[in-house]
């Protein structure tokens, strides 16, 4: 059966269209549109790519080309309710960032880039988060976690996986 269910909701379309007057052409809306979809769905499935392309008057391949370049938007399945980026660049690595990444993954029972089975938490290595004054650090949703220790990292995983979760 062919499904006609649309991925982009009228709210998402309205959010995208609200940005249109900012740019002289619609292609420039590509990245803002992908962010809006990803903020709502925590991923950007291929169907959404096609719909974004239709909305912006582009070929789906053009949108997919841009999307795939950034390696930022998951496409197969949504990322966890909390998406955490653990910094592994030089300033954090010097203060134990890589060990923190290993520790968080171990505590969550996943590999880097993996999502816990309950869908609560995705952990990804990140390049410099620009918070080297608080190394080692992690960005989880919109929250910067500073000066991480094994204890605070474990507490973070527990909170993220608790029924209440972490508000993003």
């Amino acid at each position: 059966m062919i499904t006609t269910q649309r991925i982009l909701t009228p709210e998402m379309v309205a959010q995208i269209e609200a940005l249109a007057p900012r740019y002289p052409n619609r292609r420039a809306l590509t990245l803002p549109a992908l962010h809006i979809v990803n903020d709502c769905l925590r991923y950007v499935p291929f169907e959404a790519v096609v719909e974004v392309a239709q909305l912006l008057g582009l070929a789906p391949a053009e949108v997919q080309d841009t999307l795939s370049f950034y390696q930022f938007f998951p496409q197969d399945k949504p990322s966890g309710r909390t998406r955490a980026w653990v910094c592994r660049s030089v300033s954090c690595a010097l203060r134990g960032g890589e060990e923190i990444l290993d520790h968080i993954c171990h505590a969550a029972g996943i590999d880097p880039y993996g999502t816990t089975t309950d869908g609560a938490l995705t952990v990804e290595p990140a390049e410099c988060l620009g918070a080297c004054d608080f190394a080692p650090c992690m960005l989880a949703g919109k929250t910067l976690h500073k000066n991480l220790t094994k204890e605070s990292a474990e507490a973070f995983v527990r909170d993220a996986r608790s029924p209440a979760g972490i508000p993003s």
Partner: protein, 451 residues
């Protein structure tokens, strides 16, 4: 040394410093209002030119001179892009400016737009700075409500719209033409230059791309004047007519193995040792520094003996580093293996190479694979020559790539191999006692993922 009174960071730590009321109470926006009334755009360009301000994003190009490259009498639109894709490892000065004093940045943006006759400005903010996004959006809303942005600003007839544009976690978007391509909705592949953005940039129109700290400096030059700005820093070398000097205050980001990591404002030309021992409280745990990154990882490495190098635009180059870069000083203490450091650096650049130019795409990935092999105890002395060869052949300077990312990848390799060759040789001989002398080709290793 007398303590330097911070100017750009004046408001850091002050409660409510991000609000319009706080910025106004510190004298903010008054210079803008005066300039809009009394000065022509060309006067503002002249002001910034005579101040000697050089771009704070990394390349150090004179800001006023960059503005003069715009075509005269262009029917428009002219665009101003603000580069807040601060992704160079070790760098966070722009984050602090945006979080704690966004109006200082916005005043600089309005002045710069007025000077360049831009009527639309896009602030390209990296995804990793959600708090900056909220603070900037709040400040922009306040500025619109106060008639500082929008149509006919303060009755001057000058109009400016300022929009935030969110990046998606790619280092290459900090390269100015990569940023432009990304803003246009494409993959962020840097463009071949010429044409330079001033002639054909965003949406094929004349465009200026400036850094956040540069904007803050413009606001302070308008407030405090050229004489003040030129009284700080290092004057141009009288024996080198091409040296534009290093004037003004600079935000130095200090991180890694220091007691007090943080962002410190100091006159350009402070030495790495003064910064580490003074503001930074010394190398942590009473240890000694093995190496120090002078300005973001792509600038290479200074040894302990080179720490008295002044951190101005000309200083780090004198000890074989690429330059001042973003002035992000990262201290690496004596317990760190330089092999591990170089592996971290190579992994970063292999991940962040955009893949457009073959020497960079292959060179960064190849150097990472070699470092992984060395760390796995299968290194050979020949690898060091190969690494040095990769370092010498990829980049804009050898002329094999479009942008400077590969030069940034090459410098840590070249500096590490040259300045710490003995440590590499010892490591390889120790970890691969039976094979370090082999020179046969090695089997291919798995391809690493790249961006």
């Amino acid at each position: 040394m007398t303590t330097f009174q911070p100017v750009l960071l004046e408001a850091v730590g002050v409660a409510g410093s991000h609000t319009l009321a706080s910025y106004r109470s510190r004298g903010g926006y008054a210079p803008l209002e005066r300039m809009l009334k009394e000065k022509q755009p060309v006067d503002v360009i002249e002001l910034v030119k005579s101040s000697g301000l050089r771009g704070r994003g990394g390349a150090g190009f004179p800001t006023g001179l960059k503005w003069t490259f715009l075509p005269k009498d262009h029917p428009g639109p002219i665009y101003l892009c603000i580069n807040a894709d601060e992704s160079e490892p070790g760098t966070f000065n722009n984050r602090i400016l945006m979080e704690d004093d966004p109006h200082q940045v916005i005043e600089g943006i309005i002045l710069s737009a007025y000077a360049t006759r831009a009527t639309t400005a896009y602030l390209y903010l990296r995804y990793e700075y959600p708090q900056c996004w909220d603070r900037l959006q709040g400040a922009i809303d306040e500025a619109y409500a106060a008639g500082l942005l929008g149509k006919n600003i303060q009755g001057s007839g000058f109009s400016l719209d300022l929009y935030l544009h969110r990046g998606a976690a790619a280092y290459i978007c900090g390269e100015e033409t990569g940023l432009i391509e990304s803003l246009e909705g494409k993959r962020a592949w840097p463009r071949i230059k010429p044409p330079f953005p001033a002639i054909e940039g965003l949406f094929r129109k004349p465009t200026v791309v400036n850094n956040i700290e540069t904007m803050a400096c413009v606001a302070q030059i308008a407030r405090r004047g050229v004489e003040w700005f030129r009284s700080i820093g290092v004057p141009s070398d009288p024996n080198n007519p091409r040296d534009p000097g290093s004037y003004g205050p600079k935000l130095y980001c200090l991180s890694g193995h220091v007691e007090r990591p943080g962002c410190y404002e100091a006159p350009l030309g402070i030495t790495a040792r003064q910064l580490i021992d003074g503001q930074g409280g010394g190398v942590w745990k009473g240890r000694k520094a093995k190496a120090v990154i002078p300005g973001g990882i792509s600038m290479g490495l200074m040894t302990e003996a080179e720490l008295d190098t002044p951190l101005d635009f000309a200083g780090p180059g004198k000890v074989g580093c690429l330059g001042l870069g973003t002035a992000a000083v990262v201290v690496i203490d004596e317990t760190v293996s330089i092999v591990d450091f170089l592996h971290n650096s190579c992994r970063f650049f292999a991940h962040e190479s955009c893949g457009q130019c073959t020497p960079c795409r292959e060179g960064t990935a190849w150097s990472l694979r070699m470092l992984e092999r060395i760390r796995a105890g299968k290194g050979r002395l020949k690898d060091l020559d190969l690494l040095a060869e990769i370092g010498n052949t990829m980049g804009m300077m050898p002329g094999s790539t479009i942008c400077g990312l590969a030069d940034g990848a090459a410098w840590p390799i070249k500096n590490a191999i040259k300045k710490f060759r003995g440590e590499f040789e010892d490591y390889i001989k120790r970890t691969n006692p039976s094979g370090w002398m082999v020179t046969d080709p090695v089997p291919a290793l798995p391809i690493v993922g790249a961006h």
